[in-house]
Symmetry: C2
Subunit: 435 residues, 2 copies
């Protein structure tokens, strides 16, 4: 007996069916928006991550030296990979480029509820448009994914912010502020007590008074947003505010505005964001972490050696999405589903196989006996796999050129002519033959 590696999971069919439903649902949304699937490698050069995030990132990576002496890492996220791929074919690609993919990633971190060392994400990115409509489209995809999962505005809320507003406000103070550090402090705001948060802002260069006043500005609601530029007299804040307004206006056209809330205290931890940023939260607060987030990252492609290229994207993680769906009661029952079980009694395999094949050709999920089992054992199995209809192919019935359809939910059954089954029926059930 072997144990699986800590932080890694096996998914048996019942749970996997529910996860597949969720993956298909969110991928279908991206597909309808014209995002195109890409396939990406599990390993990348370790340097791709250390160049961006410093040597300390190695502590969180599954990195090692391969047999050819290369330092490689199991990909902890997709953004560097898509940036590398975009740069490699930048000239040839039709812009805007809209990519989507779902796959596992790996990080060596503390295992806790909803957090594993192997985790699944769907990455959605647009390269090549700085227009507010691109930010809005990404927000619309995010909202449509959640509503297609069955979630409503009672269940989730997307908080939208803008990095340049935060940076502009910080710049407007008469102080030497480390903007990145201050933004990281804002990102941690809800996770630490207020004193510690203010301390972190002071650490970043503000005075306590400035930190207080900065935090007050971050509380601005939508009505007060436009006044921030006036109060600070900052051109940068004015421009960023205008950009954020344009994005929100476009989401109105795109039909998703109601799910979005302005929240300047939303900052996103990662350094590479440059414009609109957003995070999805459980409205009830039961799933305490942000469910996922995203935003604009206009500098990254140039940082990877490409031509300057605007970019915006997000990446929902499937584990927290599952927690949200479960909390909201929209996660499907984790079970098998089977359209037909074709039961064989006696030497009836030839006919049973013909029926099985015909039903499969109509696209149904069909099982039949492959273990030479008794009537009772087959019926028990049909029940375990949640077969909706059992087609009983018995020697005696066949002598009368009949088979029996048994509807498993109510237990009703009926004899039908074997030649007429399945015949022209798309999905023949007890009802089709009972008059």
């Amino acid at each position: 007996m072997y144990d699986r590696v800590k932080g890694f999971r096996d998914f048996y069919p019942e749970e996997m069916a529910a996860r597949r439903w969720a993956m298909d649902t969110i991928e279908d949304v991206a597909t309808r928006y014209g995002f195109r699937e890409i396939g990406t490698p599990a390993l990348e050069p370790t340097q791709m991550y250390t160049d961006k995030s410093g040597e300390e990132i190695v502590e969180e990576l599954y990195s090692f030296e391969d047999k050819g002496g290369r330092s490689v890492a199991l990909t902890p996220e997709l953004t560097p990979t898509v940036a590398r791929m975009f740069v490699e074919k930048q000239q040839a690609l039709s812009k805007p480029v809209k990519w989507v993919s779902t796959r596992p990633f790996w990080r060596y971190e503390q295992v806790q509820q909803g957090r594993f060392r192997e985790f699944y994400q769907t990455n959605v990115d647009i390269f090549g448009s700085s227009d507010p409509a691109a930010d809005a489209e990404v927000l619309a995809v995010a909202v449509d994914m959640l509503t297609d999962l069955g979630l409503t505005s009672e269940d989730f809320q997307i908080r939208v912010s803008h990095r340049d507003i935060l940076a502009g406000l910080l710049d407007s103070f008469d102080a030497e502020v480390d903007t990145r550090e201050a933004i990281r402090a804002v990102d941690k705001r809800s996770k630490v007590d207020h004193e510690a948060y203010l301390d972190a802002l002071v650490e970043a260069g503000l005075s306590y008074g400035q930190a207080d006043s900065f935090d007050e500005m971050l509380q601005s609601g939508e009505d007060e947003l436009d006044s921030l530029a006036d109060i600070t007299g900052s051109e940068a804040v004015a421009e960023a505010t205008q950009n954020l307004r344009a994005v929100l206006d476009a989401t109105e056209d795109f039909g998703v505005r109601d799910h979005l809330t302005l929240s300047l205290t939303t900052a996103r931890g990662l350094d590479y964001y440059t414009g609109v940023v957003f995070e999805c939260f459980d409205s009830t607060g039961e799933v305490s972490r942000s469910v996922f987030g995203g935003g604009r990252y206009d500098d990254l492609i140039e940082g990877f050696g490409g031509q300057p290229t605007p970019a915006v994207g997000f990446a929902p993680g499937h584990a927290t999405l599952q927690l949200l769906c479960q909390r909201a009661g929209v996660w499907p029952e984790e079970g098998l589903s089977t359209d037909y079980y074709v039961l064989q009694v006696g030497e009836t395999r030839a006919t049973a196989a013909r029926i099985t094949r015909d039903l499969r050709e109509k696209g149904h999920v069909v099982e039949t006996d492959i273990a030479d089992r008794s009537f009772g054992a087959q019926m028990g199995y049909a029940d375990e796999i949640n077969a909706e209809t059992v087609v009983i192919v018995g020697e005696q019935d066949l002598e009368n050129d009949e088979v029996t359809l048994k509807e498993m939910d109510e237990g009703e059954q009926i004899s039908v002519p074997v030649d007429a089954f399945p015949g022209n029926h798309d999905r023949p059930t007890f009802e089709d033959f009972a008059e």
Copy 2:
């Protein structure tokens, strides 16, 4: 600029679309047969592979020590993982267990045509039935996958053999034969010259005369199969022959017999096979390697600490499958496909967005302008993404409450009332409005 790791591949949308079609096609077949998707980890304990295959396997593995001091390996194949998963829940699982999954695997080996260090396979396995119908179902799934891809018996052939026939024939000689080594020699038969092949059989314990006579028996056609037991007087050969006949008879009922050929020179290299084994070949011989193979492995679960459990399965690799499809001319054109592009001229975003949303709700792939571009730039992009229909939403047309449908293939166009579009039409095109 970073280079991707050697032997690893990026898949851009055009190629990925073709690969996704192939993956969906073969997974759909397995689903209709009632195989259930499982999800499996990328890392396993290295020991899981070295226990089975010896320390030398490490040379082919991406194995390393993780930050917790565990020796782990990127999974080079799925069979040990499914065995581990089966053993862990053996009591609770309804038998037969039928599992399927598609994912990448990793081996540090020489990169060549159709062989990479990261490669994709779909694994199909049945646990818990020793009945010939289980072997036959696996063969039927394999054939249906290939025919659903558009391949015919002109394109491929599945060669079926039986490990116990080979072992029984070897046992029937008056010699001390290392059966595993002899079977490995048979597996390499077509890859080395005849002298080297005979030498390998002699190395395994046969005399040259016995090796010749053994090889002659392996050439038996279907008519001669039953005579092998008589010639050798071997009970084991008689039983195995009967089992193989029963499997082939079941494939007749399952409608796939025509695609199968008896071929005792087919042996499969892996030690763990115990009964029926098979390999798929390109009928034209252009794809020189076996496309994929599989068979029965009744001892593996016990070897993993479980209750003795019969098992049978196979795992087509997507790279060789792609080569076969390309050779046969059934690989789809690698390109994007888009149902609608909704083109905006002037300040028409609100209407364009409404139409875009309605079309997406009907399930179509729809793109619209998210980069504030000119008519010409949008038309060029619509062409690049192979949009079938362009819906032109122009300011002037809107004044007449109209939009224009342009069918991109022939270039025909027509004005339609904006309120009626898309209306009740499932997939409105030029034809629906042209009288």
